[in-house]
Symmetry: C2
Subunit: 248 residues, 2 copies
């Protein structure tokens, strides 16, 4: 648990290689985590080849850790394998729908996070690439994913370039995310209090200033996670889901 | 990592209470995990009250751990809190769409699994309730979730009734879930080999026999995760998503 409390996202990796043996041990551990009905409707695509990393990089908005990390792992929902098994065994699979996609997405993320917790406990560093569902169609093409396989999230992993000395990133106070028994909606005062620390951070105030915004919230809505971008990438993800054979 | 390699899902809990302090420490640890843009678009609803557990139980298909565990945690996507902050800060939130729901779902599951890994490292036992997205609309009502909050997964947690002595549940061989560089599709022989251990397990053969089925795959497609059920619960989940204010 200690490694979990002091963890930082790692975007710069040392040249120390990550062996296949260790990678496989970590994935074996991650597969011990829970999954729906023990169907294991997921696959992991391992990227080590620099040429392929270079093709993936723009699909991850040019985040440098794609080429800089020794290993990039793309965690995918996979009902292709399970469906093939069903068909070979005189069974009629029914997994090309939203509910199956949803529970397999949950299982895929459980697998990814179990991998991260195991890796960080051994001193490795990871970074999630949230760009995977933005460009799922193109990533599926690069990784040659068949129908009923769709990428959900990507992790870069390797040994950290140096021991992190930066402060831990901020988090909301605990009562900002926990509710007892039922959802207690937030008053204006609650919102002011819950976001106060985040708004007071010098780096966040600096962002607001250099971007000529009035508030930190505008950094999110106008620059980082805009309505337009979210809607554009909603369409793109829906298209990818349907192209991979899920009916929504 | 050791606790991760020997973990078992725990459905029966001892009477040893789980203190608020420990629960909060574990959630604090879990919140250290990665999340998209550090927006923390999630909430956890803590259920300890027996009356509410009894209301939740049928929504989780009468799984006994809902009432038997000292604590039930429902992990929800939450863009209500973040959206309220944006609106109080002259910013226009744009998070009622599929892409925002998707990345917040990923963040919510990362949080849930980080909680599980931290809890199990301290000797607690957990069980995921995959029924949450099946009955999301009704669970949202019981937990009084406002618009832009939707339940994604539920965990029961407590001290195990006894040290597990049952064998670990089976998992597919590692080459069944890993692909190098690109997806290598499965031949008939691959499928036979990958599922051989699962099919040979005495308890699985017993299931096939008592259910008068020809194959284990039919247990999944005809009884446990049928096309009809998946399609029914796809409609139900889509309805819940829309009722909570997400546009899909």
């Amino acid at each position: 648990m200690n490694s979990m409390n002091t963890r930082r996202t790692v975007r710069a990796y040392s040249s120390q290689p990550l062996s296949d043996q260790l990678l496989h041990d970590l994935i074996t551990t991650a597969c011990r985590a829970s999954n729906t009905g023990n169907m294991q409707a997921y696959s992991i695509i391992v990227t080590r080849d620099m040429e392929r990393k270079c093709i993936l990089t723009p699909l991850h908005f040019n985040q440098t850790q794609v080429t800089q990390a020794p290993v990039v792992l793309t965690f995918c929902v996979d009902f292709n394998r399970f469906g093939k098994w069903c068909e070979q065994r005189k069974a009629n699979p029914g997994y090309s729908n939203l509910q199956a996609l949803t529970y397999a997405t949950i299982d895929t993320v459980i697998l990814a996070q179990a991998f991260c917790d195991a890796a960080e406990a051994l001193g490795l560093g990871i970074c999630y690439l949230g760009t995977t569902t933005y460009n799922a169609e193109q990533i599926a093409e690069v990784l040659e994913l068949p129908k009923l396989v769709i990428p959900i999230t990507t992790i870069s992993v390797g040994y950290p370039q140096q021991t992190a000395t930066t402060p831990l990133s901020d988090r909301l106070p605990l009562d900002g995310v926990i509710h007892q028994e039922t959802y207690r909606d937030y008053t204006e005062d609650d919102i002011d209090r819950i976001f106060a620390e985040k708004e007071a951070l010098p780096e966040n105030q600096h962002f607001v200033e250099i971007n000529k915004k009035e508030t930190l919230a505008q950094i999110f809505t106008d620059i980082r996670y805009t309505k337009n971008d979210n809607e554009h990438f909603s369409e793109a993800y829906l298209k990818a889901i349907r192209k991979q054979g899920f009916i929504i």
